[in-house]
Symmetry: D2
Subunit: 389 residues, 4 copies
């Protein structure tokens, strides 16, 4: 057994997503966390490292030093997980890629579109793996849904309805000491998008992932309902995908009663599919003209090719962490292949891992949505996003 | 006991909504069906009357004769139910109102906005009761939801998400002998709106009813997915209500797996509410910061003032027909008051019955939606609808 | 059109089940309520008749007079609905049957087993129709479930789990002026069984109806949780059906959170079925080795032969009253055939209407359950019930 | 950071529950798997160890050697996880406890009651920790349910309805090469109970855990529906708890449509609670006389004292593995305290970890259930179990 050596930037004590990445990396025992620049606060960085069993010598004060020194070590890290606020994704990812270290990065990929274009270029040239943790695409039944669409179970696609709604920012949480809310509502750290960047990108990615369709243009209405909040907390949009497919998106962080309500429904000429993240172990399948079916993770009718992504029999619910772990597990498989000399494209082929292309589209999406909303809902092309102000 | 004498125009054998109106009128035993012009086909009209126990002498060949003769009879009808395709609503309603007979009319109120304006005027001057059967507003827990909004249980409203989706027109049903589909896709009988007029108007009315808010403007995208269909079968829209409230609407008749999926969700600064027509005996109430609650029809926490609209104890489900019957029951109460000499406004005051104002707004809504969609989603004011092409 | 003339005994103002019977009779417009002995209190009887539009001359002070005089009238009632407390069912049913009038009777059929045996004998000899209103068996999808069992969709039956649970007697409701609770907890009016007779008989009937299997023996534990209550308020039982099928039953009126929670699940060697009364428009079907299916009333996969029992398209929920109305509708069809000279067996054949056999088995069930519980759960045969103390 | 050194007996490649224990131990990073006797087949043991990263020198051919040698090593294991078929639990647990090593053991604790009595005695004298992995008791909202019962939120308890139903043995799975089914239906490895021991013990434990009540006696009916199966595959039982609380239990492995359907409902004089394992992130709470509430893991109204058992915010579902991990996490905390010199009772006090008392009661339960079923459902006391044949 040969665990992959992992480093982490961000994710010190008290952070949310850093802990998630660590558990996800641990569940299938394919990674070993050996280095980190866990906080910009040296004391917190040190204490976090200690708590996580990272050797003092590999607890770095800044990511630049970490990238440099780890690259030089014989036993240096194979990959780094970037779990900082958005504005730091680009420089950190750049540093590690250029140091020859694979990158696992939280979403959105970068602070803005220009960075996304630049990062994609850097990554493409680096020949290193770049994984963007759009974790919801790795739930086993989400993969099943994608497979069913590909198999034509829905016929010709017509409609995609996606929503991602939460309630934790119904009040001005960012002024009550909630660190998560603070940086998410701070344009300097989050970018120009609030709710849109934080969860809208997940909703977009999920629709894109299951349908396989490019989103061509959007008509958006961003709102800020909580007084004094600097960024949007609610997003309404009409969507036009390629092939004449139409859709809607609603993402909100001010919808009381919704904890983490990511939900997607796709409809075609011969059927429909529904999935909800809060009860993620099944999909509803509606073959037109027949009774609806409940297809469960690892249950009857579940596609065996996705069996590797489940750890327990049907009826033993797997959740958010296991879905997230699937990204790490597949990342591990790719890195193992790379270590054995396989080239990147071949190693990646079996796995639908989100990468820089998805990251770039995510920033195009954000940019086009912002533009549309600023222009009273004008339909805006994603491919024109780089030309927009 | 003094049943109200009711006539019906349309609703002959094989029709759908006519039968619904008759059962709705019968459930609470307040009406007696004594006259009809049940079909434009004389044979079918006669047979339908026979089957329904209407005396031959009061089975009319046309609505004009019926209005005239019933108005002249000492024992003539008090009210008429209009259950024809849309294009006939206006002339029939006009005829009966002008004959001094109360009107109960299916939705949408008229074929187009001009007729709606004219009919409102006629009705206002007639001093007769005009009830538009937006039946979903009469479900007891929908009334409860309205009451909770009025009481401020949601705080300041922010968001309204409404959808009404069906699947029965996923294929070209109108070409397989389905009469219901035929007239609904025929511009000559339905008007310029297909799915939008048929069910979109219900969705709009429901949002308007529960929230109490005027819909100011819309940005719409109408689609026709089934080849050769003359009218829209899918509607996506962004909504702007007064007081800064934002919303979305999705109505579709090509969404496999949805039978009659009318669903509404409202969110405010202090809570949210959800209701689904397919399981209509409860609402979900989300008081912000507390566990969600299930409030059931006639159950604990259900408002006693709505108790009159339920016939069975909680847990004994009431459905679509009982909800529809509530409109008839309230109509009966108003007519009884009018017979005793009360003036119309006073008699109507206790009951939130939809009438010509709701009908007019429905046509403004349709007109604005069509205009917006024809102009690539341009935001369109409802109050400007009468000036639009 | 020729409505059946109906009388009613019991069901005066303020009663529950009488009103339900009246709406059920009205929904399909097959009956006309023309006579009644609506209350043992003459004033209440008179006022109730007035309110219901029953002619004063046919509002009787007692059921004996009513049976006699209605039998003598040329335009006398065809059928009577008996909606009194249990102890009166037998003498009233006897009087009307012997007067040559069809009987529709609420459950349980009689006060005790001896009466049930006697009534069955009387009814058999009368050649009159006797319908016992086990209304839950007339929900369309319950009929569908029965049909699927008969078709072998579940394979060889193995297990029946049935429960019927309510919460309205969690506290001593019978001492707070609740009339419904008063007579249900009074052995002089209800018989020796409380919850068992009131709702346990429905649960038993439903299991018997869908499975088609005789219940052979029971092991029961009756409890009374509310202090001072004279009859059982909770029933637990193990069941042995013919053909080696095993089951369980739980009925309770002290289970907080359950309004009218009748639920049944059947399992065989090749599949399972679930149905819940509180959301009664679908069944879950579990074909073994395949995804579970949702079969909806009037939806895809719903058996056309049951289509006559539904009034609205799928997705337009029908409820408790419509299910109840199905019994009245079928009763009307039988009576119309009888009027046309058909013999009783032939007229009844197409309809699975519960009658004296079901009523008798219900009393055997009650008797065996009581005996078992009194003997510490001793397994007790239903067919031995008549020999038990 | 100081991980606890863990060994494992059983759980080689292809086993189910061994893998679950390993992930559970890993999730919170408190354990390090360093030794094992993973299979009685030496080749499989070796390969399994290799795959798991266990040093060859600590991959043992038998548990006796492992217990002896690990006890002698300075860096020997602190605890061992026993994940073999039931018949091996006793000798293995005995060997490790006597070697001074803490034991984490799967359920049921032993092969029979005599062993359970003996093991409890051994464990009590050993002063070592013994944890029985009744994992369902460690779901956060199950802990919440227990807490609510203790706080009196249900008033005085009256009823406990528990079921644990699966479908994977609907056919003779044990003859189609399913290893899990093979040993579970083999009396030599499972003991005298099939479904009863495998999942009935979980159902019993859960009822006991949440209610805090002793189960006094049972009346059971065990069945074997699949021909040729040596042990029960369906269990029906009536339950009598202390304080007059009544209950029912249904466990089955032949109920099509149920994957891992563990469900419990408790009712008292002032409220009810429901929980289902297949959607384990919330409970339904029914305060009598008020609307029902949905209490979610880590959501509003969730008890802060259980917050340590959740890793993600509400709405990010945790599942079976996280619930299982909670037992390991608490076990780790106890062992850390013991290492720091705390005595066992004090260290255990804050954690409701199931141990030998729960294991002993489990075997009493099995024994009493078997006896009752063999005696036609005779009520049988658990405390008399040791005297039964």
């Amino acid at each position: 057994m040969n665990r992959i050596k992992l480093g982490m930037v961000g994710g010190g004590i008290g952070a949310f997503i850093g802990g998630v990445h660590r558990i996800a990396a641990r569940i299938d025992d394919q990674f070993e966390l050996v280095a980190g620049a866990l906080s910009s606060d040296p004391k917190r960085a040190r204490e976090s490292a200690l708590q996580l069993g990272i050797d003092e010598s590999r607890s770095y004060q800044d990511y630049q030093t970490m990238a440099k020194q780890e690259a030089e070590r014989e036993d240096g890290i194979d990959a780094v997980s970037i779990v900082t606020p958005n504005h730091m994704h680009f420089p950190i990812a750049k540093a590690f890629l250029e140091a020859g270290i694979h990158v696992i990065c939280d979403k959105p990929m970068t602070f803005n579109l220009a960075e996304a274009i630049a990062l994609k270029d850097i990554a493409d040239k680096s020949n290193k793996l770049f994984v963007l943790t759009h974790n919801y695409s790795a739930y086993p039944v989400v993969r099943m849904a994608q497979h069913m669409v590909q198999q034509g179970k829905l016929g010709r696609l017509r409609l995609i309805q996606v929503e991602y709604v939460q309630d934790w920012m119904t009040e001005a949480t960012e002024h009550s000491g909630n660190k998560q809310a603070e940086w998410r509502t701070d344009p300097a750290r989050s970018g120009a998008a609030g709710c849109l960047g934080d969860i809208g990108t997940h909703a977009f990615n999920l629709a894109r992932f299951i349908s396989g369709l490019k989103l061509e243009s959007v008509s958006a209405e961003l709102s800020t309902f909580v007084e004094g909040r600097a960024l949007d907390d609610n997003v309404h949009a009409l969507l036009r995908f390629e092939q004449g497919v139409k859709g809607m998106m609603w993402t909100s962080q001010v919808a009381p009663g919704h904890e983490n309500g990511l939900k997607i429904r796709l409809y075609g000429s011969q059927g429909g599919i529904e999935w909800q993240q809060e009860n993620p172990n099944h999909i509803l399948f509606h073959p037109h003209g027949q009774p609806s079916q409940i297809i469960t993770r690892a249950g009857y009718g579940f596609n065996a090719q996705h069996a590797g992504l489940t750890r327990t029999p049907s009826g033993h619910p797997e959740g958010y962490l296991e879905g997230f772990a699937n990204l790490y597990q597949e990342t591990a498989q790719v890195i193992h292949q790379l270590k054995q000399g396989q080239d990147l494209q071949t190693a990646l082929a079996p796995f639908p891992l989100p990468g820089t292309q998805e990251g770039l589209e995510g920033l195009q999406f954000i940019t086009a949505m912002l533009h549309s909303s600023q222009h009273n809902g004008q339909w805006t092309q994603l491919e024109d996003a780089h030309e927009l102000k």
